[in-house]
Each structure stands twice: as structure tokens, then as C-alpha cells.
Symmetry: C2
Subunit: 196 residues, 2 copies
Amino acid sequence: MHPVLIVISGPSGVGKDTVVKSILDSDPSIHFVVTATSRPPRPSEINGVDYFFYSQEKFEKMIADGEFLEYAVVHDNYKGVPKTQIRQALNSGKDVIMRVDPQGAATLKTLIPEATFIFLTADSLEVLAERLRNRKTESGDVFDLRLQIAQKELARIKEFDYLVINREGQINRTVEQILAIVQAEKCRVNREPITL
Amino acid sequence: MHPVLIVISGPSGVGKDTVVKSILDSDPSIHFVVTATSRPPRPSEINGVDYFFYSQEKFEKMIADGEFLEYAVVHDNYKGVPKTQIRQALNSGKDVIMRVDPQGAATLKTLIPEATFIFLTADSLEVLAERLRNRKTESGDVFDLRLQIAQKELARIKEFDYLVINREGQINRTVEQILAIVQAEKCRVNREPITL
């Protein structure tokens, strides 16, 4: 059975980070894709865990060599997903999981159509709004903007393979459903191996 | 989430009966489709559990009324799958499971393309042959014939959605994989409700 590449996406506030963390706790054999960045590490950040920290020169060399699945410039720094990491994990038979925003998922789908795309959503837009509102870091304006974006992102669900509802207080069920999807995908008859 | 209709198939000797029984033990909320027959019940058989026993007249009336998903004549008796039963289970939100031979699965796929088709196979054709050989009911000729049929049936795998290997002594794993498929299918974005 070929390993699978799972892309987890969904609107801001839906709990992607927590869900991915719980998946990795439940099944440590899954490889989580670590993003690379050219910005310097913050004191608490560990290279290879939080990000891969590359110099700007190294990053640009890697871009030139086509070594990123995708990359972007964020606040004057590069941010990208190195192909080698995913390739090595898949070659060693490991399932791979990535967390991206819905826009990034759309790009990934054109690059790796054989991957499995899971859209994570909340019980309702109201619940999502409530979660965003409780983030103390968001000002009123940012909150309104994020909610507008979330509404647009929900329209993207049909581009995904699976929809999982991350219900309030039921993260174990969310994780169980995603692990069931991983297991089922491995049994699919017409699944193509992933090429990067 | 719409309920799913799962069709379990695979060659003779692969363990379809045992696997289906274990699935129902693990998740009693799943409805198992009971076949109808016009032959008289054997002493140990219970109406509605082993088969639905209908008179020939009733069976023919039901055929005329289009009440069977499919039916066949076996040893001068009718055998068929009543639609009402499946419809009622699905309408009440229950997942439904059926066990058919690969030929029957091909017919079902044209009738209910929205169903989920799982092909059950053994570790290898050798293991399958061994299991058939151990069935004391089979004479040498019947054994050879069954093995030939099994080889042909394996070629049908590509017509199915999922392939599950029922490994020797690992029935729990087989059941776990099938239940994962049920759970995953319920999360599929583009899944159509089943109409009969």
C-alpha cells in the first residue's frame, strides 16, 4: 500500500493546529511537513521542529533549483515547503500530513492531485466566529476581516475530497475520522502513487 | 451525513461470511441485507435472519412490481434482494452492508453506482487455494473449478472502490479497515445519496 499525503485545510479558527497535533500524538508514524523560512528563529523555536531556518542565499539557491513544492514571500522573508522532506518520508513508506490555508490547498491540488485533501470546518459559522472572537490577539477589524475570509473559504469545500466537522469538545472524534480517512485511502483501488 | 451502502465481495474462500459477521458484531448499528428466497426454510433457518422466506406466488408478484434490486433463479427457486428493506434502513439513517459474489457486484454497480464496493482478497492465491482445499465439502473437481473462478474474479478488482486483504489470523484488522472505509465514505465531499 502506497503511503498517503494528507493535506489538512480549513478556515482560520477551526482548530487546524490542535487537530494536527492530536493526530501526530495518536499516530507518531505519520510525518508532519515542516515549512522552511528565511527569517531568523525566535528564541523558543527549534530548527526542524517549528521551521527549517535557511539563510536567504540558501533559500534563493533552492528556489532556483526547483526544490520547493511552493513558496511565498511573507513580510520580506521567504516561506516554503521543501520537496525533499516529503519525498524522503514517502519513500520510507511514511504517511505525510501537511497543514495549509484553503488558498494554499488549491495550489497544492494542481501540483499534487494524488494527495488527499481534507477540509476541516466548525459546527457552524457562529461557532467559528465565537472561536475567532475569543482569540485575544485579534482586534475588531481583524476579526471582521477573518470572518469574511472564512465565509469565502467555506465556498471552497467542493474542491476537497473530504469534509470533517471539528465539533466543540469532540476533538477525539475529529482525529478518529481523519485517521479513518488515512486508512481508507490506503485501500483505494485506483489510487496513484504520489510523484513530486 | 448520508448513510452508506457497502457491498462486500471477493472470491469464494476469502472469508466474506466471517468478515461480515465480525463487522456486525463490532457495529450492531449497521443493517445487514437479508436475501429473500422462495425455497422452504431448513429446520435451523429463521425467517428474516437467514433469509426472507416468500411463497413462489408472492415472489413472482414482487418481481412483477419491480420490488427486487436483483433476483435470480437458483435450483428452481427464486433468490433476490428486496429493495424495500434497503430503502427502509437507509431512510432511518442506518448504514447498510451486503455480501455478494463478484459477478453480482458488477450488476449492483450498474444499478447503484453510489454504493461503496469493497473487494476482499486473501494474502495470495496460494492462501486462497489452501482455504478452499480445507473446505471438506469440496470434491477435487469442484475445488479446481472454484480456484479457476477465483483467479478470474481477481481480475475484477479494478471495478471496485477498495481492496482489503483479509490476512490469515488478522480478521480484526480486516474489520477495522472496512469500518474505516465506512467512516471515511461518510466524510466524502462529492458523495451522492443512494436512490433505489
